[in-house]
């Protein structure tokens, strides 16, 4: 077995192709650009298509077309590009079209964008957050499965650290063949052929000519689908040393790796600190957070933004113990969220203060 040094952005691309993704479209923007470049190299040799679109609007438009025609498809950008894609993500959710959207984010300022969505209407998108390149393969595969299972866009959140961290990867990973196109997808048949289907945000049941869409029926169906999805996806989290923890940290993505280091450092000194790392940001692992908070003195949310996930943590803890934010770690001229104060030392000092004062 050959071991290779692989950049995180290549790990994302490799995982997507390995999961059977055969259509990818995007528009360059750091740190998403590297994923797009790797997809442009990886897809043609396996018969796939990678498009450098005119903008993020066209990229997501191409992708929901490809997905409606039965391909496993994905797009992505940074948060700025995802802002442009919100209308299409909302429409695709209503149309029952599943695909994967990467947010190779700058920092963690797009938590609300990811978990609430900026599009219109009554929709939700599952959100998965790997903590580093090593977890990307598993979660990308899960994201495509969720997109297929629930016929809904699914977000995977990465960041600059993940894109630019190189890790050793074993060469012999599973490579899935593209799955057959699902029965509901379009195959080019038009009216009169008997094989024509309707895939639209306004309705997916064909009506007689002149009747139009039954929006009430469609929205009712979409509402039921969304409820089924919310109940059908098991929230995921990883907990470390929370059983007897006085201070419980909550962190996701790369920030959770800093928190893990701090927990193991302080545990080595005998300090009672634990960590909950949400892996699904929606549905949020409320039960895991609530269970960890029980018996603690304080819950501290470590995120690389002004305080966003803290809202979900508060909704999970429901006032049982105080919840505070260890945020504002964002002094960074690059704007990529790799500020020098995102550090094990700084977080250790903050948690020490909590242990002593709370």
């Amino acid at each position: 077995m050959t071991t290779r040094l692989v950049e995180g952005s290549e790990a994302f691309a490799h995982a997507m192709v390995g999961a059977g993704c055969r259509f990818f479209a995007g528009y360059p923007m750091t740190p998403f650009t590297e994923v797009l470049e790797h997809m442009a190299s990886a897809l043609p040799p396996v018969g796939g298509v990678c498009m450098n679109a005119e903008s993020e609007l066209e990229a997501v438009g191409m992708v929901w077309g490809a997905a409606a025609a039965g391909a496993r498809a994905a797009t992505g950008s940074t948060g700025q590009g995802l802002s442009l894609m919100q209308e299409s993500i909302a429409e695709a959710a209503l149309a029952g079209i599943g695909f994967v959207v990467l947010n190779m984010a700058r920092g963690q300022g797009d938590y609300f964008q990811a978990t609430r969505g900026g599009g219109h209407g009554d929709y939700r998108t599952p959100v998965l957050a790997p903590s580093g390149p090593a977890e990307v393969g598993e979660l990308i595969a899960d994201a495509f499965d969720l997109a297929d299972r629930w016929r809904n866009p699914v977000l995977v959140v990465g960041d600059y650290y993940m894109a630019h961290t190189w890790v050793d990867v074993d060469g012999a990973e599973e490579m899935l063949e593209p799955r057959p196109a699902p029965a509901w997808t379009l195959d080019g048949s038009s009216g009169g052929t008997g094989g024509a289907k309707l895939v639209s945000p306004l309705g997916t049941t064909k009506q007689r000519d002149g009747v139009g869409y039954d929006l009430a029926a469609h929205y009712e169906h979409a509402d039921q689908q969304r409820r089924n999805m919310a109940e059908g996806i098991a929230p995921r989290a990883e907990t470390t040393d929370t059983d007897d923890a006085e201070v419980v940290l909550v962190a996701y993505g790369t920030m959770a790796r800093y928190a893990e280091s701090v927990v193991s450092l302080l545990r080595a000194e005998g300090r009672a600190v634990g960590l909950v790392r949400p892996i699904t940001l929606w549905p949020f692992p409320e039960a895991a957070v609530a269970a960890a908070a029980e018996g603690s003195r304080i819950v501290a949310v470590y995120e690389n933004n002004a305080g966003q996930m803290i809202d979900d943590v508060k909704l999970s803890v429901l006032g049982a113990v105080p919840v505070i934010g260890l945020n504002g770690y964002r002094t960074d001229s690059s704007a990529f969220g790799i500020s020098p104060d995102v550090s094990v030392e700084q977080l250790t000092a903050s948690v020490r203060d909590l242990l002593e004062t709370s």
């Binding site: 040094l5 650290y161 630019h164 190189w166 790369t254 790796r257 800093y258 030392e345």
Partner: protein, 196 residues
Amino acid sequence: MEREILLTGIGGQGIQLAARSLAEAAIADGRRVQLFASYGGMMRGGNSDSYLVIAEETITSPPVVGSAWAALVMHHEHAAGVWPKLRNDSITMINSSVVDPACRPPAGAGEVGEVAALDIATDVGSAMAASLVLIGALVARTAVVSAAALLDSAARVLPSYRSEAAAVNRLALQAGLDLGAVTHPAWTDVAAGSSR
């Protein structure tokens, strides 16, 4: 056991090439590797830093490590952030041709090696290979990777448009490797005083 190596310098000094060479050599030696690169928009003169972790087991460190076993300082401009991370058993290798004499690790930070890397590289034929002299010298003192794997990886990681530099880069690496025997063994199976 995790061996965290910080590399700091400015754009154009070969920080990223040196870090990739060490990382690829560690993989060839059968170890686990994590490498995070951080550099500014300027091709030359901006900060260029690398955070490399070499380990025998799965790596748990975050991309920017909290404490370090070794530092390679090619330039003083962005070196201040390195010092607080050094453990008291660390080793620091200084490019003394360039680094301001006022810029040195605090007392008690462990072993410090002064290597006139830029002068040595210039002597063997390429000032651009100074970072390779310095990693050669680190490997001479620590055997953190094997010399054979490093000589091989340094050629492999060169982009194709730089392939003509492979020969002189090898001379620079070898000059660093020849700077002495092991004083600061990286691994328990490396004996102090041995040469690689």
